[in-house]
């Protein structure tokens, strides 16, 4: 089959990626700048026998998606800042009850209603710490339309593989810009589905982990009658007041990501081999960084890019390595310094770190990155 080349918006690529990954259920609530994800899902899903529902609020949007996932379908919900705040409690529910679901946050200016139609990267720490209690987090951050397609598929794969919520942290620029994308043939796309039990219903322990720390997940309605709760629970799924059970559960949930980091983490590097200046950027800001690097390289300045693709878990080891090589790390972000906290925590022993922050609703321009580099050189 020939490859399909299309001009597509990031939000549209998110839905196409989700459908390619096997999404059959979407529930959400309209919010700028993510609304096209709901609109396109509403149009596309019933055509393939899937279901779309516009719920009464953001909380219901994620709740319905979690419920649907328990019946064995792949589910997604999308939102932006205010809605991301409202969804936090149920993100924690999906984490402790180990229910696969993809949550998309097309970031806009905050706090509160903030700047609904303007881009921002203000929710990066909320993605990590937004819901209460210790909980595992996987968050991916695309910086192009094609990458939105790919990372949406990856989000579903990771959610299914590790039985947990996965966050796709887009921004308004990536969500709304249009680019040419080549849609791969379905035979070229790796799809991961949750592992289901094959044992008898009597033998099934719904929260007994396999070797990779992930329990097998039975669909509701298939004869494995089991209990799911947001309370601390043992391997049977029923609540427990045992301190040992609580400790084992929370540590296992965290370890699902910690132990499998090598499988989860990804990043992009550009021109890092000989770089003595490193730009740390993600999302739409990485695009400006790439242009800045091109312009600076033409002048003979050795600048490289480190772009985390999984922002959580953070690609620590490689960044530490690079920090030993460069004189300075420049960290442009469309917030007042969020992911730079990780960079500083990991690298300030090895190199100088310079922040470049913008929260006025504008993108960061290549010229601003260049000016910052010239200032610190």
């Amino acid at each position: 089959m020939s490859k399909k080349v299309r001009l597509m918006q990031g939000n549209e690529a998110c839905v196409e990626g989700a459908i390619a990954a096997g999404m059959m259920f979407y529930s959400g609530y309209p919010i700028t700048p993510s609304t096209e994800i709901a609109e396109i899902s509403a149009e596309r899903l019933p055509r393939i026998g899937g279901k779309f529902i516009q719920m009464e609020d953001e909380i219901a949007g994620i709740a319905a998606a979690i419920g649907a996932s328990l019946t064995g379908v792949k589910t997604m919900t999308a939102t932006s800042g205010p809605g991301f705040s409202l969804k936090q409690e149920n993100i924690g529910y999906a984490a402790i009850a180990e229910i696969p679901i993809v949550i998309v946050d097309v970031q806009r200016g905050g706090p509160s209603t903030g700047q609904p139609t303007s881009p921002a990267q203000g929710d990066m720490m909320q993605a990590k710490w937004g819901t209460h209690g210790d909980h595992p987090v996987i968050a991916l951050c695309p910086s192009s339309v094609k990458e939105t397609f790919d990372l949406t598929i990856k989000s579903f794969n990771l959610a299914e593989k590790y039985r947990m919520p996965v966050l796709l942290m887009m921004d308004e620029v990536v969500g709304h810009m249009r680019e040419k994308i080549e849609i791969p043939d379905s035979s070229e796309i790796e799809i991961i589905n949750r592992k289901k039990p094959t044992c008898s219903a009597e033998e099934y322990l719904p929260f007994k982990p396999e070797a990779n720390l992930v329990p097998l997940m039975a669909d509701f309605g298939t004869g494995y009658r089991y209990h799911v709760t947001g309370l601390v629970h043992d391997e049977t799924g029923f609540p427990s007041n045992s301190t040992q059970v609580a400790d084992d559960l929370i540590r296992r949930l965290m370890d699902k990501v910690e132990v499998n980091k090598a499988d989860i983490i990804s990043w992009e590097e550009e021109n890092t081999e000989d770089a003595d200046i490193l730009i740390f950027a993600y999302g739409c800001v990485a695009r400006a960084a790439k242009t800045a690097i091109k312009m600076l390289r033409e002048k003979g300045i050795k600048v490289g890019l480190f772009r985390p693709i999984t922002v959580w878990p953070f690609p620590e080891e490689r960044l530490i390595e690079l920090s030993k090589q460069v004189k300075v790390i420049i960290a442009p972000e469309m917030n007042l310094g969020q992911m730079v906290l990780e960079v500083e925590r990991l690298c300030n022993k090895h190199t100088k770190i310079e922040r470049l922050n913008k929260v006025n609703g504008e993108i960061i321009y290549p010229e601003e990155i260049i000016a910052k580099i010239q200032e610190v050189l």
């Binding site: 319905a64 409690e89 309605g221």
Partner: protein
């Protein structure tokens, strides 16, 4: 020895339940199981969903596909389950605070959508799990730990609310009228659409103690003496009905069901994907 009903539909290993002595919740839970037994539903196809609070512990004791969700959100989770797999019989158990305070928005919209979910609200007029705070169904001037001088909020009539919001089957019974709970739940499950059954339950530990309602027996006697069947009430004067409350079937008006309507859209689009 557990009864045959308990043996067949309860997770007997998880008993005894956590509810206080004299609480009506156990009776109502049993009445729901009896409805499922009488309808001979396949336990593998029954899904029971709850929120947070005393009532929400009920699914843990029932041997079906069971989901104990976040506070107030049971109906939103249940809506996802039912829409994703309409073959499942979805039953939701909520408390009065759970359903009409923190979950009020989900409640009215589930009614409006007429999705085939049977919801039973265990109404004990108080937040029991957190220790006796007033809820949206605490009668005006009654006391709770957060209403030490009397509650000045007007109480919701849960059944009126559900009917007005679009539920197609609505009824009320009490833990004293356990057989009526079973009948109403059966009718609710058979109604293809959103059904709401309010089950009045006594909370002697908090509501009763705070409001000097006597012990469990007195509270159950109150249910017996002050409940009037809606058919009998039609022949009674306002004076005779003073201080009484109605039980029975209040609304039975089937309308097109949500998941069926959605399936019609899917069917109409067959073969049209590009």
């Amino acid at each position: 020895m557990p009864s045959q009903l308990v043996e067949q539909y309860f997770r007997a290993d998880n008993l005894p339940q956590i509810w206080c002595p004299g609480c009506g919740h156990g009776i109502i839970t049993r009445a729901i199981a009896a409805a499922i037994e009488q309808l001979d539903l396949d336990p593998n196809k029954v899904c029971v969903v709850s929120g947070i609070g005393c009532s929400s512990r009920a699914p843990g004791y029932l041997d079906f596909n069971t989901l104990h969700t976040t506070h107030g959100r049971a109906l939103a989770f249940a809506t996802g389950i039912k829409l994703a797999n309409p073959d499942l019989k979805v039953i939701v158990i909520m408390g009065d605070g759970d359903s009409t305070a923190i979950g009020g928005n989900h409640f009215i919209h589930a009614c409006r959508r007429n999705i085939d979910i049977t919801t039973i609200i265990f109404n004990n007029n108080i937040y029991g799990m957190t220790g006796g705070q007033y809820s949206p169904t605490t009668p005006k001037f009654d006391k709770g730990t957060t209403a030490p001088y009397g509650n000045i909020d007007k109480a919701f009539d849960v059944c009126d609310l559900a009917g007005a919001a679009g539920a197609t089957y609505v009824g009320r019974a009490t833990s004293y009228h356990a057989n009526m709970v079973t009948t109403l739940v059966k009718n609710g499950i058979m109604n293809e659409g959103f059904s709401l059954i309010e089950a009045i339950s006594g909370c002697p530990t908090y509501y009763g103690r705070k409001n000097k309602k006597g012990g469990p027996v007195d509270m159950m006697k109150w249910q017996k003496d002050f409940a009037v069947n809606v058919t009998a009430a039609a022949r009674m004067t306002p004076e005779q009905l003073e201080g009484k409350f109605l039980i029975g079937e209040f609304k039975n008006k089937p309308e097109p069901e949500y998941t069926k309507e959605y399936q019609r859209i899917i069917d109409s689009l067959k073969g049209s994907d590009v």
